[in-house]
Every structure is written in structure tokens, then in C-alpha cells.
């Protein structure tokens, strides 16, 4: 009998080890991708690489315009997505009645928005922002080709719509973590509902909202499909100045360099360098988000 149990133990351990090897595989995938990009890309990285424009049909030079355009579009995206996302989360968690039909509809819509394929957002940006809104604006202003064409503004708004669910979910999680007693305390001291939200609830939710913001920046930086037709350009000899200009951006630049290059051997090292920059950016943003989150969680545990 003990032999049997021992054998069972060993067999069980083996099976558990097998599921554990799935974890190892995930770590290995992460390490291989990271390792390849670092080894292939670190030689390209230099101060000149980060501050110069591409040259000679992207076979020489740097990636500065792509970084500049990426920062420009991400800032516009944040201006659009953060207020709307936070307000939606505040409504869902602080004002809405749980079983209410509107609440259910909003939740369903947020869930579905998160599942819409990124390329469909690109189609929507083209059909709605550029042709309907932009074309309509141009028409009513009596001009052509100012708003009714791909540009940073429309690309950023498309990205904003795509990332709306992420901000909402992060903010709601932060709101959920704030003890009900804090709200009750504020109300008992005579604060109105909005005053308690504005001065008691939201300040405590800031780390959570920040996590969402950081994640949205990271995802927005890497998204290509939604901006391909709404604003991103293959190559521009100048930096964009206005939101109505087209722009270059890092993710799209990587795609263009690896799939449209006339001399792929010359562009691959540059593309590797650009990929390393993008990956370093998204990784550090994700790590920042993870750290903020674990800090707030341990603070919460202490507070209770």
C-alpha cells in the first residue's frame, strides 16, 4: 500500500511538473523574443540613431521622426481618453444602480468595445472620422483636404476609442479598492456626493488611474492596425506641427521597414534597433504599471 501511494506521489509530481513546464515555456518565449531583439538591436542604438531622421530610403539614419510622431499622437490620445474613461468608471462605480438597464448596457458596450478587432477600429476611423466628420467639416468650411484626410488627430482619436475600455477597467478597479467607510465618512461630515468623490475618493484612486494611463500609453505605442489608414505615413521629410498633419510612428515604421524595404539586408539592423526602442518603452511602462499596482495592493492590505 505505501508503495502504491509512493508511486502515485511520483506520478502526480511528474504531472504537476508538466503543467509547471507550461510556465517555463511562457518565460522562455518572453526571454527568446527579448534576447533576439536586444542582441540584434543594441548595436544600432546610439544618440544619432535616436535624434536623426531616416536617410537613403530608410537604409541609413535614425528614427527620430517616428519617436516624435508617436509622442505627439499619444499625448492627443490621452487628452481624449482619460477624462471620458475616468468619468465612465466613476459613473459605473459611484452613481449607477447595479441592476439598472443603463448600467448593464454600458458594461456590455465596454466589454464589446474591448473585443472589437483593431483593424475594424481602423476601418471605423476612416469611415467615421475622416470621411464623415472630417469631410463634413471641410465641406461646411468650404475647403478641401484639411480635415477630410488622414492625420494625427484622427489617428489619436481612433486609438483613444480603442483604449477606452482599458482606462475604465483600471479606474473601476481602483475605485473598488477604496473602503466604503471613506465615502460614508465624507458624507457624514456634510459633504455632497460629488464633494466626497472629488476630494476623498478620486485622490485615493490616482495610483490606479495612473496604472491605466501607463498601460494605455504602452498599448497605444505598439498599435499599428488602427492608425495605418487614419494618419500614419510611410515616410515624411518633415516633423508634424499641427494635429492635422500626417505623422510617422515607431510601430508603423517597423512594419514599413521590414515589409516594404527595397534593400532588406540594409534595413533589418535599423528595424531591429527601432524594435528594441519600442520594446524597451512598452516593457518599462508595463513594469511601472506592475510596480504601482503591487504597491497600492500592499498599502491596502496594511490599511485593513
Amino acid at each position: 500500500m505505501t508503495n502504491k501511494i509512493n508511486l502515485r506521489n511520483i506520478k502526480d509530481k511528474l504531472k504537476i511538473g508538466l503543467t509547471g513546464s507550461a510556465v517555463l515555456l511562457i518565460l522562455a518565449i518572453l526571454a527568446i523574443i527579448l534576447g533576439t531583439v536586444i542582441i540584434g538591436g543594441y548595436k544600432s542604438i546610439s544618440w544619432e540613431f535616436l535624434t536623426q531622421a531616416p536617410a537613403d530610403g530608410m537604409t541609413k539614419g535614425g528614427i527620430f521622426p517616428a519617436i516624435f510622431g508617436m509622442v505627439f499622437s499619444l499625448m492627443l490620445m490621452l487628452i481624449a481618453v482619460v477624462p471620458v474613461g475616468v468619468a465612465t468608471a466613476v459613473y459605473l462605480h459611484e452613481y449607477a444602480r447595479p441592476g439598472f438597464i443603463l448600467t448593464k448596457l454600458i458594461r456590455g458596450a465596454v466589454n464589446n468595445l474591448a473585443g472589437v478587432p483593431s483593424i475594424v477600429f481602423g476601418l471605423f476611423g476612416l469611415g467615421f472620422f475622416i470621411q464623415f466628420i472630417g469631410g463634413g467639416l471641410d465641406h461646411s468650411l468650404g475647403q478641401t483636404g484639411l480635415f477630410g484626410q488622414p492625420c494625427i488627430l484622427w489617428a489619436s482619436l481612433t486609438l483613444a476609442l480603442m483604449n477606452l475600455p482599458m482606462i475604465i477597467v483600471a479606474t473601476e478597479e481602483a475605485l473598488r479598492a477604496i473602503p466604503q467607510a471613506e465615502r460614508a465618512g465624507a458624507l457624514a461630515l456634510g459633504a455632497t456626493k460629488w464633494q466626497s468623490i472629488r476630494h476623498v475618493v478620486l485622490p485615493q484612486a490616482i495610483p490606479g488611474i495612473l496604472t491605466g494611463v501607463v498601460l494605455v500609453i504602452s498599448r497605444g505605442a505598439g498599435e499599428v492596425a488602427p492608425i495605418m489608414f487614419t494618419g500614419a505615413a510611410y515616410y515624411l521629410p518633415y516633423l508634424p506641427k499641427l494635429p492635422t498633419d500626417q505623422f510617422m510612428t515607431l510601430g508603423y515604421h517597423i512594419f514599413v521597414m521590414t515589409t516594404q524595404s527595397p534593400d532588406i539586408d540594409a534595413t533589418v539592423p535599423i528595424a531591429m534597433g527601432a524594435t528594441l526602442v519600442l520594446l524597451a518603452l512598452t516593457f518599462s511602462l508595463n513594469i511601472i504599471a506592475i510596480i504601482i499596482r503591487s504597491r497600492t495592493r500592499s498599502q491596502l492590505r496594511k490599511g485593513r
Binding site: 458596450a109 464589446n112 473585443g115 472589437v116 478587432p117 505598439g222 515589409t259 512598452t282 508595463n286
Partner: protein
């Protein structure tokens, strides 16, 4: 506080609440608008006689060729539907066992320290932009696999499917782990008390109890895989062939839109055909996500009922 002042305060209060409420309905408006505008741009295929000289709805299911820019254009959806199906199945074939085993391991067997390490690692994998995965699969992995397996065609459905699998592992993992974690402790205690080993408990009690949630996770991953664009655009070879062979070059629905919308003539039959593909994608992912959501919600309310 005077009555006047107080009245003013409550007016402000309801104004703010009203504003927040209106903003919150924005998500509904957006989903509705997306559907409306994709629909609007695909409808001419059904109703506009000028467009119908180029393409009709019937052509989508007639024949097996997608050749929109040839002299005699053909618009059959079969090759690109097959392409999406092939790549998605390959991705799930890789991602489902890995993600679910990892979820089972981290919630049932891993110590607290290890657990706090696995989750961020999966989040980092989720944080890799799809264009980077596509780049990796196109430049590095394709040549590597070709050399090992002696493939004739470097960029094919298997290559793209594997990279796509990397992209959906985190989605499946996180939902599956939530589902497994939601199984009440009493289930495990009962099984262990009856003499089951930890492995038997995990496999025969916990996993079956979490099964609706785990299926929801698989569906969720499937929705992601069908909708993913950059990986398949870069790594699958981009040829809309009607072929069941996974080692042939392939084009998915998403990649077709991404590859062709840039060059299409505005308002042409081809243009509306691409929006129609977008409509199909929207509806398919909508249905998959809804099913996943209903399954997951059902499981959660059942398990939380059991906890009481």
C-alpha cells in the same frame, strides 16, 4: 446655510451627475457608431446598382478566388475565411494547452512567491506589441523553423499561427486563472479530505468546476486570434490561396483589409468589399465575445452562490 445656497448646491450636484452619466453612455454610442459606419460602407454591395456591376453579395460565396485587382476581379471570401480559420486553429492548438496548464499550475501548485512572479511575466508577454511579434516571426522565427523542418515556403500559416499563439496565451491565461481561482476552497478541502491527491483534486474537481470559465477563456482567446492583424499580416506570407495545407502562404480576413485598404479606390466595389469583410469580423468577434462573457458570468454567479 441659507435655503437659496443649498438649493444652488443641489442644482450643481445634479448637473455634475448628469454630465458624468452622459459621458458614461459614450461607450454605448461608440459601439453603435462602429456598427453603423462599417454597415453603411458595406451596404452598397446590396443596394447600389453601380457598385453591383463590380461586385454583388453572391460573389462573396461564388468560386474560390480573391483577386480584387485583376482584369477580371474575383471576390470570393472562401480563401480568406479559410486563412483566418487555419491560423486561428494553429494558434489555439499551441496557446490553449500552454495557457491553461500554466493557469492551473499557478493557482493550484505554485507557492505565493512564484505566483507573484508568474503574473507579471504573463503581463509582460501581453505587453509585447503585435507588430513586434510579427517582426520577430517574419525576420527571425520563419528562417529558423524553415531550416529545422525543411519547409519549402518560409512564410506560412504555421509560422504565423505560432506567433499568434504567443499573442493570445496571456488572454487565455488570465481569464482561465480567474475562473480557477473562483472555485471555492471547500471544493478542494472536500476532495483532499476524501483522499484525493493534490493532482487529482486539481484535475478532477477544480478544473471541471471551473470548466465554463475555462471555455470562456478559450473563446476569448479565439476572438483575439481572429481579430489580430499585424502578426498575420507580416508572418503568414500574404497570399490569398484556397488551400488546406498549413505550410502554404496564407492571408486572413484582417490582413486582407490591412494590405488592400491603402491602395483601394474610394467608393469602388473593392472598397465596399473590404468594409464588408470588416462587418463580418465585427459580427463574428461580437458573437464570440458575447458567448464568452455569458459563460464566464454564469460560472461566477454559480460559484459565488456555492460559496455562501
Amino acid at each position: 446655510m441659507s435655503l437659496k445656497k443649498r438649493r444652488f448646491k443641489y442644482l450643481g450636484e445634479s448637473l455634475i451627475e448628469g454630465n458624468i452619466k452622459i459621458t458614461a453612455t459614450f461607450a454605448i454610442v461608440v459601439v453603435f457608431l462602429i456598427f453603423l459606419f462599417i454597415m453603411r460602407e458595406s451596404l452598397p454591395i446590396f443596394f447600389n446598382s453601380e457598385v453591383q456591376q463590380e461586385i454583388t453579395f453572391g460573389q462573396f460565396f461564388n468560386g474560390i478566388a480573391w483577386q480584387p485587382v485583376s482584369d477580371n476581379p474575383r471576390f470570393s471570401l472562401w480563401p480568406i475565411i479559410l486563412g483566418s480559420l487555419k491560423v486561428t486553429l494553429i494558434a489555439l492548438f499551441l496557446a490553449v494547452p500552454v495557457a491553461i496548464s500554466a493557469a492551473l499550475y499557478s493557482s493550484e501548485f505554485a507557492g505565493r512567491r512564484l505566483k507573484e512572479f508568474i503574473k507579471p511575466a504573463v503581463e509582460l508577454l501581453a505587453g509585447i506589441p503585435s507588430v513586434v511579434l510579427g517582426f520577430f516571426a517574419l525576420i527571425v522565427m520563419a528562417s529558423f523553423l524553415k531550416n529545422i523542418f525543411g519547409w519549402e515556403i518560409r512564410l506560412n500559416a504555421v509560422n504565423a499561427g505560432i506567433a499568434l499563439g504567443f499573442a493570445v496565451i496571456p488572454s487565455i491565461y488570465s481569464l482561465a486563472e480567474d475562473a480557477i481561482n473562483a472555485v471555492p476552497r471547500s471544493f478542494r478541502e472536500a476532495a483532499l479530505g476524501l483522499g484525493a491527491s493534490p493532482w487529482q483534486t486539481a484535475l478532477k474537481v477544480v478544473l471541471p468546476a471551473a470548466l465554463p470559465g475555462v471555455s470562456a477563456a478559450v473563446l476569448f482567446g479565439m476572438g483575439r486570434a481572429v481579430g489580430e492583424t499585424m502578426v498575420v499580416l507580416m508572418a503568414a506570407g500574404n497570399a490569398p490561396l484556397f488551400s488546406f495545407n498549413p505550410l502554404n502562404s496564407t492571408r486572413t480576413m484582417t490582413a486582407t483589409i490591412a494590405a488592400e485598404l491603402g491602395e483601394v479606390v474610394f467608393g469602388s466595389g473593392h472598397y465596399h468589399a473590404l468594409f464588408f469583410i470588416g462587418l463580418v469580423l465585427f459580427l463574428v468577434t461580437f458573437a464570440i465575445n458575447m458567448t464568452s462573457w455569458v459563460l464566464f458570468d454564469g460560472l461566477m454567479s454559480k460559484l459565488y452562490g456555492a460559496k455562501k
